[in-house]
């Protein structure tokens, strides 16, 4: 579930408030959105994918709250990790991702 809105990274664009399919965030005037309904989070990672500031962390644990530490997440490179894997981060593109996938698939084929 969503566990972190980084105060230092958030640019208060409210994109997450707009895109969240299950409406877990509440916008806060001039500040980072508030996680208002955490248990409604369906752990789809889409807010992370859309966040332009890599300020969100959706933990993989879907059914229970877990404690997270921002510093540790940054150290492990986990903030914005899903966005990078989709090719949605700056300087990257989903097509680059797909091209690499294709050339690998052509080379190694299906493992089974």
């Amino acid at each position: 579930m969503i566990e972190l809105v980084s105060e230092s990274r958030c640019i208060a664009c409210d994109k997450c408030v707009k895109v969240c399919p299950t409406n877990v965030f509440d916008a806060v005037p001039d500040g980072p959105p508030r996680i208002a309904r955490q248990s409604d989070c369906q752990t789809c990672f889409l807010c992370e994918a859309y966040c332009p500031a890599d300020a969100l962390f959706v933990a993989a644990e879907a059914h229970q709250h877990v404690e997270v530490n921002e510093e540790e997440l940054v150290k492990k490179g986990l903030l914005g990790v899903y966005r990078r894997h989709l090719g949605w981060d700056k300087g990257s593109s989903p097509i680059d991702r797909l091209e690499t996938y294709r050339s690998l698939a052509a080379k190694v084929g299906s493992p089974i």
Binding site: V17, K18, V19, C20, P21, T22, N23, R37, D40, Q42, T43, C44, F45, L46, A49, Y50, V58, A59, A60, E61, A62, H63, K76, L78, V81, Y82, H85, L86, W88, P94, I95, R97, L98, T100, Y101, R102, L104, A105, K107, V108, P111, I112
Partner: protein
Amino acid sequence: MNSVDENGVELSTDVLVIGGGPAAAWAAIAARERGAEVVVVDKGYVGASGAFAASTSGNKVLPPIAELRDPVKFERYALGGTLAQHRWWDRLLEITYDRAPRVWEWAGYEIPVWERTVKSSYRGLQGSETMRILREVLLQKGVELLDHSPALELLIDHEGAVAGARGINRQTGVPWTVKAGATVVASGGVAWLSKALGCNTNTGDLHLAAAEVGAELSGMEFSAHYSPAPIHSSVTKGAYYRYATYTAEDGNELELSKNGHRSTSAIAKELLKAPVYCKLDRGTENPEVRQMLRLGQPNFFAAFDKVGIDPFEQRFRITLLLEGTVRGTGGVRVANDECGTTVPGLYAAGDAATRELNCGGFTGGGGPNMTWAIGSGNIAGRAAADFARSLGKAVNERAVQRTGGAGLRARNHTLSYDANAVVKGVQDEVFPYEKNIFRTEKGLVESLAALDRLWEKVQGIPLQDSPQSLLRSREAAALVATARWAYFAGLQRTETRGMHKRLDYPSLDPAQRHYLAVGGLDRLWTRKDAVPEAIVVDGSKGAETVKAKVAVAA
């Protein structure tokens, strides 16, 4: 907050599309290209809502070559217990081959020509990317989008034709009314808030609303689809389990496949006894294979990267999460070739509509689901535009009536109910494998009794002190209604076919080769609907495929 019975925002349009996924987007685009004014309303955000944006899906984008298309048609025909129809497949494949590549075109990407000629599913863009593009296209084409605007009820005219819908903006609390000549329900299937990937917007709200205006459902007995997921997670991506070794707590290998395919029943049986672990170590030693798999399904790895598990090297514990009719089948009954329902002005597309027409009683996972979403979306959108035009410009001056009942307006004014407790009550009946996967008459009757009690509860006064509680109250009623249809139909189908497994009737009964329409609110009913003549497979190119797949399905 405003009351649901206040007027709020009022809009008038030719076609109203309810939903925010691929079927809704395609329906809106098709209607718009036919010259209709179109409004799309969605519970979430058009483009991020629904199963596809989160979980992605394969597709069947195949050129009109029998050698490529026949195996797809024959495979689902066999797996789905011979209830799918080649005639529908032909239409859906034609539309998908024409339309699906447009997404690339619209995004300004070079269309991968080779993809269109290989004999495999279409390895396309991720769902999140496809939906981001489709949202842009909708806006460019002048479709009006209302995000975070769940439809709570349908409107009808004095003759009973559907004339639009009403709902609420769940972020502002302002009610909305959209009057329309035709309405397309493309709001997704129902997965009973299981948190299967991207499925929690899919609560069957419009299944209930459709039934309230007299529409029928079909195939609801084929709603027991579960997918494996790492036990801590939401990630129900099943494809890579083909590389899995299954083990018990003590490390001993478990045989949970049948004829080379993952067997949900075998996994469920084992899970009822003890924990099951997986490692993706069959044929994945080559680092380039691993990199390829990562690039193919970034969401699959999100569940692992964040908890520091390498699924190729370390074993992880799994569970099965219910995906209901999202990856299963069953939904609003399609009553004609236009994806119309039995109610004039109401059309159904995507997961919200029954997928028996191309998948029979089986899952459409691996491509057929997306082919249905694109095909039925386009068919419904076009037909809705034509129907709206036939009614003339004055159509939205019609007097309309609100139709929402359970979970929205109380019938029993002496009792209130706790929506979350009702949701939990439904989940207690539909989640357990022993009730939903391994069905028996006794189990179904007991579950239906519990669900009937919950149905009585949701006739009480719904909590409506915030937009969220108002929505959850209605969702709770929809979850009860859809569960009742699923189990009532499951009780009537006294055989094992497709995804519907009866322990007390373990074989397929040739006499029950029919669809099962189901409906009703207080009193439920079923009706046997004929399926076209069985397809004779001897001598045709697909014969071998069918024989092999029937063997697998049996």
